[in-house]
Amino acid sequence: MIVAEQKSLDEIKQLVGRAQKVLVVGCGTCVTVCFAGGAREAAIVAAELRMASKLEGAPKEVTDVTVQRQCEWEYLDQIAEQVGQVDVVLSLGCGVGVQAIAEHFPNTWVVPGLNTKFMGLPTEQGVWEERCAGCGDCLLGLTGGICPIARCSKSLLNGPCGGSLNGHCEVNEEIPCAWQLIYDRLKSMGKLEVLMDIQPPKNWCTARDGGPRKIVREDLRLATEE
């Protein structure tokens, strides 16, 4: 899932500025399950903004609504009327959600309420860790299902480096060394020979280095008359 965390109320207040009518839009997918921007968080942020603005002597009219997914036009259509009635939309979606609102409602000023952090998973309740860097050319088949791109600080393809100490990374001892994890896993599965292949330099054109990415599936596009 996409993992995000809320901006501070001070920053949100600055972003909202002097707008009188505010609509807080939550998202019912990734940011709901990471407790950053779901229906409950949208209601909390709306209450915080109402209370803070009232205390400052300029009460704002703040309402909240949550759509199933901010990153799909069909779900955004459902809130078009509410969006049209406010001065600013505070999106509690990930960066994709914020941009989807901006793109779908060209005349609406939208500001982000979250910082989108990474693609990851909850390793325990209340703890999320990065697992995928979206490099566009998955090599998990070479590393026993542990990603050295996302989990090695240097994204090494042939690790570990000299900074691996007692299974931890030199960048921060709280970071497990991805290559130690890979070695341990392959060893436990009796597949250490996989590591004998030296990996050539990775082609990063499939990642961000190739510019913004796009996928077109002709088989899925709506049929036009041929």
């Binding site: 109320l9 409950r40 909390i44 209450a47 915080e48 109402r50 209370m51 803070a52 009232k54 205390l55």
Partner: protein, 142 residues
């Protein structure tokens, strides 16, 4: 002034609610500002529940759950304690005093402790004054 204060007490039915009942049965005196709201467990307490009480004008909110280790649902009181701490942080950002919200632990046999808590919370809220959200700004400023 403290006569006008309103304190919402979210009480667990297995401990604090019964303790309040016992305090009544024992004819113990405690400030009348506390309005008890029955919950099946303080684990039901959500940050929004506390914020809404304050937004609607409550001067303080107390959450009263079982003694540590005695939760009927094992860990509901610990969850509540963490959420209360979270709301206290939110209140500082909003501009309200964190002292308006507090978590207490007691058992159903502690009727006198309930009376003490009610008094303690009332004094604590009286010290920070009425909730500014229910008083127009003009009246708040000298």
């Amino acid at each position: 002034m403290s006569q006008d204060l309103q304190i919402v007490a979210y009480c667990c039915e297995h401990c604090a609610y019964a303790a309040a009942d016992l305090a009544g049965g024992l004819r113990l005196q405690y400030p009348p500002n506390v309005r008890v709201v029955l919950l099946p467990c303080t684990g039901k307490v959500d940050p929004l529940l506390i914020l809404h009480a304050l937004e609607e004008g409550a001067d303080g909110v107390m959450v009263a759950g079982c003694l540590p280790g005695n939760c009927h649902y094992l860990k509901g009181n610990f969850s509540a304690r963490r959420r209360v701490a979270y709301v206290q942080q939110l209140l500082k950002q909003i501009g309200l005093e964190a002292e308006r919200v507090e978590m207490f632990h007691l058992s159903s046999a502690m009727g006198s402790r309930f009376a003490e808590i009610a008094k303690e919370m009332t004094e604590r809220v009286a010290a920070v004054g009425p909730n500014p959200l229910r008083i127009p700004r003009k009246e708040r400023e000298p």
